[in-house]
């Protein structure tokens, strides 16, 4: 590598276009060194620079009275009361997870944890949003097994409970699974740590693991399509050490309790390069690094390798003068490397020294300001043809059994059972117990509600409606446990942005998301963009995964979805029997067609605010939002969770029966209450459509004019898929 001459050809190999390389030459006024070219190429990679997405991301609303820090920091920060802040973000590790599923997923968890604790928060919950290829594709089982093991292996060891998430399967992810990991942490609202360096002469300290040759050019790899040779990229995947991460969390939080820190930043994508460049750039200062002082795991590493390494579990800290001894003692106690590797300067440049030579000397301002920004051409996704009449080929009962057993709706217990969801002793609603996970704050009654949501098949058919729906569903899931939705983090997973259709999907999804965020007072406070999710030219479904955070003032007010006997079942919201892009249509009729269900944001807000009010008043014993599979699948999920059946009223005469039971109209909830009539009266007064649809009790779902479906039969079908697929029955 080091012997190659630096020229346009090498720049191209590093992922820089000819125009971008020309800009490098202009900035430098000479041919850059290999290390300098490496710095430019990673800082200007799609992954680090957001060069294709920035113009669109600006359209998202990012402010609200409770937002302390929106996008631009390591993670978003919102005030949650009691003088505390929730700090959270979701981030993708898609490309590495296909190349090496276990380590790809594990280091995805590790990376997002660092983004959160680097701001001073103790991580209290992890979630994940996973999309895999078709179950019968030869790679899928291996990828699912590795990803689940990797998420568990890392999260369980660091002792942060994995409390929620979602999993979908679709052939569009065959060569490109999505692994989006989210971490939520808690910090005092007045003790948030930022990354802007300050104080000329202040020491720059490296802590954590030693630097090795792993993950070199990972950010560049994550910014390109895969070809058939993706296996060869395995050396660009990092290897995680959750034990070191746990020590790093404890040591950093211990140091953060002192006043030793000026700025702190984790070394994530592009490692030492991006952390030092961003810290100095944000602070408007310069930085000088002495690579001889960097703790190294291997001998003979070059400056290029050290600057580009993505070895995990490392942090960069700017210390206050005189704080070195105190800081060193803490990291010594936790047996972590601690090295002063540089200092802050007033030059506005990054200067990298190694073995008596200056290996890089780059002005920071142009490195950031001249970073490429593309307003790439877009083509709108054509509106899907209307679905028209669809007859029911199977009948309601058999369709329900088939749906609760299909890979997208079957029990996820096989996955959850591999994630520690209780460590920390604060998990109020575990995975599957409610529409959102609920985690209490240590020593308080206050609790966070957390969810991840996206329906990619909607986004493919109509990216704007799909983007809107993803945000609305996150808001709905938080509402369904009784929480006040506060903010979201977004993880935009799309194909190749150089294709106008893909950029059109991206732009439309942003439009839909922005509209929903505004209407629901649900701003975006952090996020991540993952483009080039294509293998051999085939793109994934557009997947703007949303991580939602809400708050409950009293954790005891949270409701789950488990049905208890002798309750009235009330459907809140309007039902037209919308089958376009529904799971029923795909799984039972074998068609992926039509427009997705539209979201009426005003109705969404009205219905949700009503439901939340009912929950907080104590009237609601169980609540479940209606999403994939519609009304009857939601009822079956409530029945299975509570071990209680229900007797259901007939469908309305003016609607196809399968549309009523399986349509995916939006903005709907099922509430189980003691007094249905009183609830209907209150709904009427609030202008919210509500219908009594049955009463709970017994051990089966009794449909009008059809055979009863026993809970035992539902359970058997629901539990079947994962263990059978993995050969573990």
């Amino acid at each position: 590598m080091t012997s190659k001459p630096v020229n346009a050809a090498l720049a191209r190999e590093f992922g820089l276009s000819a125009t971008e390389y020309d800009t490098v030459l202009t900035i430098m006024g000479r041919t850059p060194s290999l290390t300098e070219l490496g710095v430019f190429s990673v800082m200007w990679s799609e992954h680090c620079s957001y060069k294709s997405s920035r113009v669109w991301l600006r359209q998202l609303p990012t402010t609200a009275p409770w937002v302390i820090h929106g996008p631009g920091e390591n993670a978003g920060v919102v005030a949650i009361g009691d003088g505390l802040a929730a700090i959270f973000k979701m981030e993708s590790h898609n490309h590495p997870s296909f190349i090496e599923p276990y380590q790809g997923a594990a280091t995805g968890v590790g990376g997002i944890l660092r983004d959160v604790f680097t701001m001073g928060a103790r991580p209290v919950a992890n979630l994940n949003a996973l999309r895999f290829g078709a179950p019968d594709h030869p790679a899928t089982r291996r990828v699912v097994d590795g990803v689940v093991r990797g998420i568990g292996g890392y999260g369980n060891c660091v002792g942060v409970p994995t409390v929620g998430g979602e999993v979908n399967f679709h052939p569009a992810y065959n060569g490109n699974p999505l692994v989006n990991a989210m971490t939520v942490g808690i910090a005092p609202a007045d003790r948030i740590f930022l990354s802007a360096a300050a104080g000329i002469g202040n020491q720059v300290v490296y802590v954590g693991s030693k630097t090795g040759r792993d993950g070199i050019h990972g950010a560049t790899m994550a910014s390109a399509e895969f070809g058939a040779d993706s296996e060869e990229k395995r050396p660009t995947v990092q290897v995680g050490d959750p034990f070191t991460e746990k020590l790093l969390i404890e040591a950093c939080l211990e140091l953060m309790a002192t006043d030793a820190i000026v700025a702190i930043q984790d070394m994530g994508a592009a490692g030492l390069t991006s952390s030092s460049v961003e810290m100095a750039g944000k602070g408007g200062v310069g930085i000088e690094l002495d690579l001889d002082a960097v703790p190294q795991r291997e001998t003979g590493m070059s400056a290029y390798e050290m600057m580009l390494s993505e070895s995990q579990e490392r942090m960069l800290i700017v210390l206050r003068p005189g704080a070195e001894a105190l800081a060193r003692a803490i990291f010594d106690k936790w047996e972590l490397d601690f090295a002063v590797i540089g200092h802050i300067t007033d030059t506005g440049r990054i200067v990298v020294r190694h073995q008596g030579r200056i290996e890089a000397n780059i002005p920071l301002d142009p490195l950031e300001k001249a970073a490429p920004l593309y307003h790439r051409p877009t083509i709108d996704t054509p509106a899907p043809a209307p679905l028209g009449e669809v007859s029911d080929p199977l009948g309601i009962g058999p369709a329900l059994l088939q749906l609760v057993g299909c890979p997208d709706l079957c029990s996820r217990a096989w996955i959850w059972d591999q994630y520690d969801s209780t460590v920390g002793g604060q998990t109020v609603k575990r995975p599957g117990a409610a529409d959102a996970a609920v985690v209490r704050l240590d020593g308080l009654m206050r609790a966070l509600a957390l969810t991840t949501d996206c329906t990619p098949r909607y986004c493919l058919a109509d990216p704007e409606a799909g983007g809107m729906q993803a945000v609305a569903e996150a808001w709905r899931n938080l509402t369904a446990v009784g929480a006040r939705p506060l903010a979201i983090t977004d993880n935009m997973n799309f194909g190749n942005p150089e294709k106008p259709e893909i950029m059109g999907q991206f732009a439309a999804a942003i439009r839909g998301m922005a509209a929903a965020c505004v209407a629901l007072d649900f701003p975006v406070v952090s996020g991540n963009v993952s483009l080039y999710n294509e293998t051999e030219g085939r793109g994934i479904l557009p997947t703007p995964a949303i991580g939602g955070l809400g708050v409950l003032d009293d954790a005891a007010q949270a409701v789950g979805l488990s049905l208890a006997p002798d309750l009235d079942l009330v459907l809140v919201g309007e039902t037209q029997g919308w089958l376009g892009q529904s799971l029923w249509l795909r799984e039972i009729a074998g068609r992926e067609e039509g427009p997705p269900p539209p979201v009426d944001l005003a109705a969404e807000r009205r219905h949700g605010d009503f439901v939340r009010g009912e929950i907080l008043s104590g009237a609601v014993r169980a609540c479940h939002d209606l999403s994939d599979g519609g009304l009857l699948v939601a009822l079956a999920e409530m029945a299975m969770a509570g071990g209680t059946g229900a007797t259901l009223a007939p469908s309305p005469f003016n609607m196809a029966t399968h549309g009523w039971w399986f349509g995916e109209d939006q903005g709907r909830y099922i509430l189980a209450v003691e007094d249905g009539a009183a609830l209907l009266a209150r709904a009427g007064a609030a202008g919210v459509p509500a219908t009594q649809i049955g009463r709970s009790g017994g051990d089966c779902l009794k449909l009008p004019d059809a055979d009863a479906i026993s809970l035992a039969a539902l359970h058997a079908r629901h539990a079947e898929f994962f263990p059978a697929w993995m050969g573990e029955t």
Partner: protein
């Protein structure tokens, strides 16, 4: 009564344990760093769950060599009480304070779920608030909880009444399906000869609050608080 919690690097259920102890005893436990050796004044030493030293080499193997372990051995020899949960149980076996070993779960996967435990005897400092054969629910979360010992040791443990808890079905019967990690004779926890050292894999400390799903685990801590009240 005074309890101390030992913090090995990589332990992660110390806060759960501290909450449970505080709830039953009214006192926050003392946190003891693994390099400290001063256990003076403690009635109970608790080794909480987690991944000490990352579970590298073998679960608990490196923690068993920590400086604090000499002091814990002396504490146990003096008749002091010791509770090891999950990784704490693994450390106690690696330190030979309890017999046997914890192997990889039979299915070779991490298991995180509620299990049902049967109280094999209710006359110890850890179980007096239960009745014999009571069944209680407890979360478990481990990759290596498959209890193993040779037949002579298992016979001796059973003969001496040193089996503390077994994995059972909800109705208290032995059922291979309830013994998810494949433990020998469905053993979930065992005592030392003097019944003052207890190791178990599941986490009663994570079920001591109705808000978090129940108080099934609370009798363990109430028993300890009562027995060591003096």
């Amino acid at each position: 009564m005074r309890a101390g919690l030992v913090i090995f690097p990589g332990i992660n259920r110390e806060r759960d344990m501290a909450i449970a102890l505080q709830r039953s005893t009214g006192h926050a436990p003392r946190m003891i760093w693994h390099r400290d050796t001063d256990l003076d004044g403690l009635d109970l030493v608790v080794l909480p769950g987690g991944f000490s030293h990352g579970d590298y080499l073998r679960c608990g193997a490196m923690a068993a060599q920590s400086p604090v372990m000499g002091a814990i051995r002396a504490h146990a020899a003096r008749g002091g009480y010791v509770l090891g949960v999950c990784n704490g149980f693994q450390i106690l076996t690696e330190a030979h304070l309890l017999p046997g070993a914890l192997l990889r779960n039979a299915a070779l996967r991490f298991l995180s779920m509620d299990c049902h435990l049967r109280v094999e005897r209710a006359d110890t400092a850890f179980t007096a608030r239960w009745q014999p054969n009571d069944v209680f629910r407890a979360p478990m979360a481990h990759g290596d909880g498959n209890y193993f010992a040779d037949d002579d040791t298992l016979d001796r443990l059973e003969g001496e009444g040193r089996v503390a808890f077994r994995y059972v079905a909800q109705d208290g019967t032995l059922d291979p399906r309830a013994n998810r990690n494949g433990s020998a004779r469905a053993i979930a926890g065992i005592y030392s000869e003097n019944l003052r050292v207890l190791g178990l894999m599941p986490h009663p400390e994570d079920l001591v609050d109705p808000l978090l799903g129940g108080e099934d685990g609370k009798p363990l801590f109430d028993s300890i608080a009562n027995a060591l009240a003096a």
